[in-house]
């Protein structure tokens, strides 16, 4: 019973997160300017991190947690570097 509830809600929430990644990818591809693309990339990173966490719940192993942590770190670094690039025209001065 509880396995059925968990399985169905995990499937539904994974599909919702995939749809969220699709919306963010739409903004990355079709964003009118560069800052819109960077914003979409940040949302894409967050949705991917949450999707990997739901895969971890589905498989019951804590290995996925480390992948999600690395993705969160990469999201911060990449968005900060891209914002710096948009501001100054170069990343490391």
């Amino acid at each position: 019973m509880s396995a059925t509830i968990l399985l169905w809600s995990l499937t539904l929430s994974q599909w919702m997160l995939v749809a969220a990644m699709g919306c963010a990818a739409f903004r990355v591809i079709g964003g009118p300017r560069a800052q819109d693309r960077v914003l979409g990339l940040d949302a894409l990173y967050v949705a991917a991190m949450l999707l990997i966490l739901t895969f971890g719940i589905r498989s019951g192993s804590t290995i996925y947690f480390e992948a999600a942590l690395v993705i969160a770190l990469l999201a911060f670094v990449s968005t900060a570097a891209l914002a710096k690039f948009l501001m100054r025209g170069e990343v490391i001065e």
């Binding site: 995990l10 019951g60 501001m87």
Partner: protein
């Protein structure tokens, strides 16, 4: 999903509700990212996913592993802390970069302050004269 038949029902229902709420809020945030008209409205939308959405799914994961392993599993707090600290920083940097780009081009409409700072003095405090652009 094997070996979950002795998973308690209250925990399964609670984990499911938190998962569904978190992913639905993330989806709503990215729908806002698609549908809003200007960048300065759009920059607010994905924060719904990074606060409520990530909070819901991370609490669900903490609850699931705590009940599954019969001990307190709180390592997801690391992601919560990291996302909560870094999201305002990156979005502030991005919004400042967008304002700088829009001001140097002078075309796009920038949202003003309520008590209307003239653009010349605001620009002098924001951008240094020796900026490479």
């Amino acid at each position: 999903m094997t070996g979950l038949d002795d998973f308690p029902l209250w925990a399964a229902i609670l984990v499911s509700l938190l998962l569904l709420a978190g992913s639905a809020l993330t989806l709503l945030g990215t729908i806002g990212l698609v549908r809003f008209k200007s960048f300065y409205e759009r920059v607010h939308a994905p924060t719904l996913g990074t606060t409520c959405g990530a909070g819901g799914i991370l609490i669900a994961s903490m609850l699931f592993f705590s009940v599954l392993q019969s001990r307190l599993a709180l390592h997801e707090l690391l992601i919560t802390l990291f996302v909560t600290v870094t999201t305002p920083v990156t979005l502030m940097l991005l919004a400042r970069a967008a304002i700088y780009r829009d001001r140097t081009e002078g075309k796009a409409k920038i949202p003003g302050f309520q008590n209307d700072v003239p653009p010349s003095s605001a620009m002098a405090s924001d951008a240094r004269p020796d900026d490479p652009g």
